[in-house]
């Protein structure tokens, strides 16, 4: 069952949910395209989990409408929605075997026994859990429990799969591996995935689109590349990836670029795009956009305080002459050591101008 082409899997319009005085979700509008791997990214308490529960039907909004595949489900209870959830704690039924856990949703649909058995076995095999059907959840490792939780949700063939921090409870190595498994599962199933996470690396690496939430609002959405390259404000820039933020004075505005002078900098540099209002702004430069310069062409100067060699790249920490720290990411070995005097430079038109502090 897939919605007609062009109809978003989920469309949320002006949804708000208050708990007493707390605005958990504050006037959120959002469209999740059908077939997307969409991430809701935000710190804890940003309202992303509440939004997920509203879509699942486990909570009802105070205002606004929720449409799933074009159908208004704002007041439809959870058990009637074509949506299934992978809970953060997995929420496997401890009194049922793996098989019965996965079969639970199909039994509620009143399907015939042979069909249930066939679909459950097929789905368990898909995630390599076929040999564990008779075990109880407490006899499985965290990673196995997670796969059962995913099975239990996708066996119902929902229009939309909701994932609430699906990787948070796994250890680091398993998390990175499972990330790619999730992605390939989504490719095979063709179900729209909506994932909630506080881990920006996770969101960037598997999502086709993401939305950043803060204080119950969506502050920016777009593809991971767009949000990384053009964060709307300092908070998002800081949250998505590593960021160097420099205070700058606006010197000259042209049609498509702006000339700015970095505080303590030797010369003005150009940035594409129009800056915010006023004479002051913040310049965002990603660590990989800055180059080390030893030939006097530098914009800023400082002293290397530390170098970490990561194999394919090196991260160089530099204390600038005005005392602020900067992070530079160079390909391969950096060729500098702690204590070296060094200059920093970057290509013309690189960087993003944001509101001043």
């Amino acid at each position: 069952m897939t919605p007609p082409a062009g109809v978003p899997a989920v469309a949320i319009a002006g949804v708000a949910k208050h708990y007493g005085d707390v605005r958990a979700v504050d006037d959120v509008s959002l469209e999740v395209p059908s077939g997307a791997f969409f991430s809701l990214l935000g710190a804890s308490g940003s309202g992303k989990s509440t939004l997920l529960r509203l879509i699942a039907g486990l909570e009802f909004p105070d205002h606004g409408r929720i449409l799933i595949a074009g159908q208004d489900v704002t007041r439809v209870p959870a058990y009637l929605r074509p949506v299934n959830t992978v809970f953060q704690s997995y929420a496997l039924f401890p009194h049922l075997s793996v098989f019965d856990n996965v079969a639970y949703g199909l039994r509620r649909e009143g399907l015939a026994r042979p069909e249930i058995e066939q679909r459950v076995s097929e789905t368990l095999r898909m995630v390599a859990m076929g040999d564990f059907a008779r075990r109880r959840p407490n006899e499985l490792s965290g990673g196995q429990q997670q796969r059962v939780a995913i099975c239990r949700a996708i066996v119902k063939r929902p229009l939309l799969l909701l994932l609430d921090e699906p990787l948070a409870a796994l250890d680091r190595r398993l998390r990175e591996h499972t990330r790619f498994e999730l992605k390939s599962l989504q490719d095979r199933l063709g179900i729209t995935f909506l994932m909630v996470t506080h881990d920006q690396e996770e969101a960037m690496s598997i999502s086709t689109k993401l939305a950043v939430m803060d204080h119950g609002r969506i502050v920016q959405q777009g593809s991971p590349q767009e949000v990384y390259a053009r964060p709307r404000n300092r908070a998002i820039a800081d949250f998505i990836g590593d960021a160097n933020l420099f205070q700058v004075d606006v010197e000259r505005r042209e049609d498509e670029r702006t000339w700015v002078r970095v505080a303590g900098g030797r010369r003005a540099v150009s940035v594409t795009g129009t800056p915010p209002q006023g004479d002051h702004a913040t310049l965002l430069l990603r660590p990989e956009e800055i180059r080390l310069a030893r030939d006097g062409s530098s914009v800023l100067d400082g002293q290397v305080t530390g170098v970490s060699f990561l194999g394919s790249a090196s991260v160089v920490m530099v204390r600038l002459d005005d005392g602020r720290m900067a992070e530079v990411r160079a390909q391969g070995p950096a060729g500098v050591t702690a204590g070296d005097r060094i200059g920093l430079t970057w290509a013309t038109d690189v960087g993003v101008l944001l509101e001043a502090e």
């Binding site: 509620r108 075990r135 109880r136 239990r152």
Partner: protein, 271 residues
Amino acid sequence: MSRRSTFLLSALVVGYAFLYIPIALVIGFSFNESRSVAVWSGFSTKWYAALWENDALLGAVGLSLRIATVAATVAVVIGTAAAFALDRFRRLPAKPAFALLLATPLILPETITGFSLLLLFVWLEEAVGWPGGRGATTITLAHVTLGIAFATVVILARLRQLDRTLEAAAADLGATGWVTFRTVTLPLLAPAMLAAWLLAFTLSLDDLVIASFVSGPGSSTLPMVVFSSVRLGVSPQVNALATLLVVAVTVVLGLAAWLLARHERRRRQAA
């Protein structure tokens, strides 16, 4: 043997001696030839034969078991409902007061409970003509009252620990409220409900004070019969009955432990 383990061993022996010497004495003297509880005069099972003929005592056993079964079952049903109300009723005003009121019957002296219930039954009979007189019905009602408080406390403790996400997961998978309750909440609550039932059953079987207040002629429970027979002079038939009860309890406990162990083993084998 080190001094430490000698000390631990003596502590163990003294502790269990305190617990089990009285019971061992009862069992031992149930096989005594003589009527005396002080003098051993040879092995005999005649008191067991006499017990088999003693309709009053056996009748009391039957009555006690019937009352305990009904009272425990009703107490668990009402106790479960009460626990749900206390846990899930979000806008219940003065919730702490309700929790406190729940604990009160647990610490109220039995004489007061018994007396107040007697007063209630007498007043009810005057006012609405029910229950007519006092007997098995009034004892059962009194034991339900006592059992509800205990059952609610036990079930509420488990209900508060229950992971509400499991119920959310059931709803998410297509279960209505009632189906969620039947397939998720109730099975997870079952051990606590069984514990509550056994507790209420034991309390009822054990109760002498409240039953004495609210019973009527011809409806004497086992503790009442035993107590009154002891006042007239101890009959070794009571020892025989006590021995049978100890054996029954041991068998039931042993069976439960064995079933649990087997269940666990099967699960491991299945896995």
